[in-house]
Symmetry: C2
Subunit: 398 residues, 2 copies
C-alpha cells in the first residue's frame, strides 16, 4: 500500500471543486457512472439531504455528490426536501446527469432554511471549476469544513491479489461541532475499482465500523452524518480483500485526522484494546475509554490516570477480569507498562510513574489495554476535553 | 408527605456520627437489627468495600454502616479486602455487633492502600460521638463528602394507607469526581418501616431507577457506588405503596441535590420526557439529553439550543417521530414552548426566543419534551459542563 497525493482526485476520471463565501461552502465531486453505496447516521432525527441521498443510492448508482457547509438543512420539513432537490437538480442540469444519480449532503446550522440563492450561486461557481487535480480535491475538502481547523484528505494506491494496482481517495470533515447547533461527519470516497453496489456496501460498512464509528469527540451523534463511496471502475479490476484492507486503512487515517482536529482538542489519543472476548467487546471497551470525560480531562491535564482508564473499561459492557488487565502508555518513542495483570506499576516514586507522566505530556498518546481474555481487538480514536471545547460550544448564543 | 429535619437521624433509634481530618473522613450510621438491602455499581471493576457489603447484605440484615472518604479502597487486591474487614471489625467490636451485620463503603482515590492507622483512629473517634440528632446526621453527611461543595441529607414523614406515619431519612454524597481518580455516589437510607429484605429490595430498586440512575454528571460510572437501605421496624408498620412513593421521592430529592452539586456545575437541569412509547424509552431519551456534552455546554452558555436537545433524543435509542416532538423550557416562574409538533417556534426575532434566552439565564432549568407517542415518562437530573469541570478533573497531576 502506498500513500498518494490527490485526495478524491487521485482517481482517474474524478473531478472535484469547491466554492466558498464567508459563511457557506459548496463542494462538488463528480465520479461519473459509478457503482456506489453510502452509510448514514443512525440518529432518528435525520436531515433532508440524508433522506434524499438514501433515496438516490437505492439503485446503487451515483455520478456526483453535491455538499454544502453552513446550513445542515435539518428540521426544515418539506421546504428542506425541496431545497435539497434543487441543489441536486442544478448539478444534474449543468452536467447532464440524472437527478437520481446525485447524492446531497449538508452540514451546519440546523432548523434554518437553506439560503438557496447563495448556495445556488456557489454550486454554479464550483461546477465551472471542476477538474481532476490535487488542488481541486483540496478545494472541495476545504469547502465542507465547519469548525475544522484544517482540511482532511487522504489517498492510497494498493496492489490487488492479482498484482494490479487500484486507488482509493477520500475527503472528510470533522467532528468539530458547529455553531450554533450541531456538527456532522461527512466523508466522500472515490475509487477506480470495479464492484457492485452491494460489494461496495459490505466493504464500506466494515471499514466504517473500524474507523468513523470508533471516533469519539463528544459522543453527540449528528443528524447529517454521511459517508459515500463511489467506484467508477476505470481500473477494470474487481474488488478483493486487498481493496477492503486499503479502504479500511484509508477510513482509519481520515478518522484519525478527525479525532486530532476534534473541537478544542490539544491532544490526540488512540486507545487499542487487545485480548477482549470478541471484536464487539473490544470496541465497547475502546470506545468507553476514549469517550470518558474523566479520561479526556486527564489527557488534557497530562495525568497518567490509569484508574479512570480501568474504570471506563469496567463500565463499558465488555467482559473484564480485573486480575488480567494490563495497561501500557505509549508515545512515538516511549512506552511504559502502568498496570500489569491487575497490579499497579506506576505508584508514586516509581520510574514507571515518571515515564508515564512524560508520555502524557506528548501530543499523540496511545493507551494499549490488554484484557487477557480472548482474541478480540479494536482501536478507538479520540481527543482531550479542554477549556476550548467548553468555550467553542458554550459561548455561542443564538 | 412532609419534609422533616434530621437526615438519617430522623428515624427513632438511629445513631450517626462523623469524624474527619484534612484528608479523610469517616461516617458511622447505626440502625440496629435492621432488615436491609443495597444496590451497587454495575461497573465490572468493583472496590473491596462493595465486595464486602455484597456479602454482608446476603442475609438481609444490617446493624450499621461504616463509610470513609479519601480512599476508595479499589484495585487494592487482597489487602483491600483485609482493610475493609478491619474497618467493619472495629465497629463490630466497639458496638458488639456481628461483623456480618456491618456494611462498608469507601470513596476517594483508587489504587492506593488504605491508611488504616488514620482510618482506624477516625472510626474510634466517630463511634464515641454516636447519637440520634440532626447534628450527628449532618456530621456523617459531611464526613463522606469529597469534591461535593455541601453535605446532602433529606428526610420525610409519610402516612401509610392505614393512616399511620412512618419516616425515611437519607444522606448522600455526590457525583463530583474525586482528585485524582474517581468519584462515587454513596447513599445511606434509614427508615422505621417494618419490612423484609426482599420487600425493601424491590422498593429500593424501583426508587433508585427513578432517581440515582437518572443523574448524569459526566457519564463515568464509579467502582464504588452503593446505596444502602436499613429498616429498623420501630414503627411496627408494614411496608405499602405509600412507603414506596415516599422512598422514591426521597431518592429523587437526594439525586437532585447531587446533580446540582455536580463538579463545576453552575446550573441544574431537569429533563422531563413525556409521551414516550414506554418508561424505558422515556428514560433513554431523558438521560441522552442530560448526558449530551452539547446540551451541557449550551446550558453553561445560556443558549436555548433546541437543535441539540432534539438531536440527543434522536440518538437516544427511544422511538421518535420528528413531527410529533414538542419542547418546552421552564424556569421557576417562566415557561415557553420552543418546538411544537416538530415546528420551531423560537426563531430569531420571535418573543419565544427572547423568553427562551431569559429562561436559560436562570440557575435551575427544566426541559420538558413531549414525544407524542405513548404514555412513557421519566425525569433525568443533570448539570452544565463548565470550565470548572475541566479544571477540577484536568489540573490534578499524580
Amino acid at each position: 500500500m502506498k500513500i498518494v497525493d490527490g485526495g478524491v482526485c487521485a482517481i482517474e476520471g474524478v473531478l472535484a471543486a469547491g466554492a466558498c463565501d464567508d459563511e457557506y461552502g459548496v463542494a462538488v465531486i463528480v465520479c461519473k457512472d459509478s457503482d456506489a453505496t453510502a452509510v448514514f447516521t443512525s440518529n432518528k432525527i435525520i436531515a433532508a439531504p440524508v433522506i434524499l441521498t438514501k433515496n438516490a443510492i437505492q439503485n446503487g448508482k451515483l455520478s456526483a455528490v453535491i455538499a454544502n457547509s453552513g446550513n445542515a438543512n435539518c428540521f426544515t420539513g418539506d421546504q428542506g426536501i425541496e431545497d435539497g432537490k434543487a441543489m441536486a437538480s442544478i448539478v444534474a442540469e449543468e452536467l447532464d446527469f440524472n437527478i437520481d444519480d446525485i447524492a446531497v449532503a449538508s452540514t451546519g446550522v440546523i432548523g434554518r432554511f437553506m439560503p438557496m440563492n447563495i448556495i445556488g450561486k456557489l454550486i454554479n461557481k464550483a461546477i465551472v471549476r471542476l477538474e481532476n487535480s490535487s488542488e481541486a480535491s483540496k478545494n472541495a475538502a476545504e469547502a465542507i469544513m465547519t469548525t475544522d481547523t484544517y482540511s482532511k484528505e487522504f489517498a492510497v494506491e494498493t496492489k490487488l491479489k492479482n498484482g494490479k494496482t487500484i486507488r482509493i481517495g477520500g475527503i472528510t470533515k470533522g467532528s468539530g461541532m458547529i455553531a450554533p447547533n450541531m456538527g456532522t461527519m461527512l466523508c466522500f470516497i472515490t475509487t477506480d475499482i470495479k464492484a457492485t453496489a452491494s460489494q461496495l456496501n459490505a466493504a464500506l460498512k466494515k471499514a466504517v465500523d473500524a474507523s468513523f464509528n470508533m471516533v469519539v469527540v463528544d459522543g453527540d451523534e449528528s443528524t447529517n452524518d454521511t459517508v459515500v463511496l463511489m467506484a467508477n471502475g476505470k481500473s477494470e479490476e474487481s474488488i478483493d480483500e486487498n481493496f477492503e484492507k486499503a479502504l479500511e486503512y484509508l477510513c482509519c487515517q481520515l478518522a484519525r485526522m478527525m479525532a486530532k482536529d476534534g473541537e478544542g482538542a490539544t491532544k490526540f489519543m488512540e486507545v487499542e484494546v487487545n485480548g477482549a472476548t470478541n471484536t464487539e467487546e473490544a470496541r465497547l471497551a475502546a470506545k468507553a475509554v476514549v469517550s470518558s470525560s474523566l479520561v479526556k480531562t486527564a489527557l488534557f491535564g497530562a495525568d497518567p490516570n490509569w484508574g479512570r482508564i480501568v474504570a471506563a473499561v469496567g463500565y463499558s459492557g465488555s467482559n473484564i477480569d480485573p486480575k488480567l488487565v494490563s495497561v501500557d502508555l505509549e508515545s512515538q518513542d516511549k512506552k511504559v507498562n502502568i498496570v500489569d495483570h491487575g497490579i499497579i506499576n506506576a505508584f508514586e516514586g516509581t520510574s514507571q510513574l515518571e515515564e508515564a507522566e512524560n508520555i502524557m505530556e506528548e501530543k499523540n498518546i496511545r493507551i494499549v489495554i490488554d484484557l487477557g481474555l480472548g482474541n478480540g481487538n479494536a482501536t478507538a480514536y479520540g481527543c482531550d476535553l479542554s477549556y476550548d471545547y467548553v468555550s467553542i460550544n458554550a459561548e455561542y448564543t443564538t
